[in-house]
């Protein structure tokens, strides 16, 4: 039985889309960009040498789970969360929630979501979706990356929820517990923007924010040292495009989604200057898209000489410069 009145909607990103979906079902009319912006979803981090990564990489959003916690802190919404050691208990709890007509978000390893064609499935332990019903041994899944509701075998959902490895889901589920009587959007939006600016401009960790972006620009020319061969290097360089464009970022490494948030925020809190900043960020996003294209092109053509990596480095330095200016203006706008 599919939960009554549950409306499936596609979204740009799985975590912000899942949170939006639960809030909308609970009766709160809020958009995904607004959730993303209030939750300070925009971010940058570069990881040159980390135990958990076999090759240098970067992130363009805050830590998985942080969006949910930030939404709670800034709006007064409450989610109830559960994690499990025992898969049987994990399934029983989920089934009980569904019997109570409660759509429930789950963290899964994307690889086991077999409604996705096999060639698109990769192991990512931080994919989020909404379980919105169960019929016999199949769950009804609302996955923000899919145009319609899909079905998933109980065994596949269990494998996804209890997959091992880095950031393993441990059966994690959550659902809406309480909506506040009123939300102070001005306060929530301002706080969300201020925190995002802090993380981009002032966080005193050299691989995060704008300084992290500059580290990425400086270090990308060293990537050949980490690669086994040209094939491996081209794969990793092409991954820049995937991380920016193809992993539920809403385009240009979440920059387009954050620009949409600023546009919506401008009218909600009556700050027209946010609209101008939104236009500026769209253009900044176009520059990230140029980086995507450049990386994809040199990777595909195996054209990975030092001159090309130097060009890529300069393009990233340029994004750091324009984003630094942008976030300084944004910070000033909400002071």
């Amino acid at each position: 039985m599919i939960i009554q009145n549950f409306n499936h909607k596609m979204a740009a990103h799985c975590e912000s889309g899942t949170i939006t979906s639960l809030l909308n079902h609970g009766g709160l009319s809020i958009t995904e960009p607004l959730v993303f912006g209030i939750a300070s979803g925009i971010f940058f981090g570069y990881f040159h040498k980390m135990k958990s990564f076999t090759f240098p990489t970067f992130i363009v959003r805050n830590k998985p789970g942080q969006m949910r916690r930030n939404i709670e802190k800034r709006t007064g919404v409450r989610f109830k969360t559960y994690d499990f050691k025992d898969p049987v208990k994990g399934q029983q709890t989920l089934d009980q929630l569904l019997l109570q007509n409660i759509p429930t978000a789950a963290q899964v390893d994307f690889f086991y979501m077999d409604y996705v064609p096999s060639w698109e499935r990769v192991h990512i332990n931080v994919h989020f979706l909404v379980v919105a019903g169960k019929e016999d041994s199949k769950y009804n899944i609302s996955d923000a990356y899919f145009p319609r509701m899909v079905e998933l075998d109980a065994s596949s959902l269990e494998k996804g929820r209890f997959a091992g490895g880095n950031m393993s889901p441990k059966g994690f589920i959550f659902h809406l517990d309480k909506l506040p009587a009123d939300i102070d959007y001005k306060k929530a939006i301002t706080k969300g923007i201020s925190k995002a600016c802090f993380y981009m401009l002032k966080i005193p960790i050299p691989f995060l924010g704008i300084t992290g972006m500059r580290m990425f620009a400086r270090k990308v020319v060293e990537w050949p040292k980490f690669a086994r061969d040209t094939e491996h290097l081209s794969h990793e360089i092409m991954k820049i495009n995937i991380l920016l464009e193809d992993q539920g970022t809403g385009g240009a490494g979440f920059r387009f989604m954050y620009a949409t948030f600023l546009q919506q925020a401008a009218s909600i809190i009556d700050k027209p200057e946010l609209k101008d900043l939104s236009d500026e960020l769209m253009k900044i996003g176009d520059g990230w898209r140029e980086i995507s294209l450049f990386s994809a092109r040199i990777g595909k053509n195996r054209d990975l000489g030092p001159d090309k990596l130097k060009m890529l480095s300069e393009m990233i330095y340029d994004r750091a410069d324009v984003e630094e200016k942008f976030f300084k203006s944004l910070s000033k706008a909400v002071k």
Partner: protein, 90 residues
Amino acid sequence: MDDLKLEIKKLIMSTLAINDIDPGEVDDEKPLFGGDNALTLDSVDAIEIIMAIQRTYNVRIADQHIAREVVRSIDSIARFIAEQKTNTVS
């Protein structure tokens, strides 16, 4: 609409430096990716096309899910550009 579709075919070919196919050979409805159209493209070509469309028609295809649908065929690209232009005018 037919003029727009022809323009799109020429734009794709010049962007991807394809010289060995006549625009008339490209089917409007058949998928451009992994199908049996005269033009068969890959995901890197898709970004090239998205950016060429943005530069030429001043319409941004931001979200990747929408992008996937838009660049599916010549028909879908033409429909998207026409809709965006109508929205901008109205």
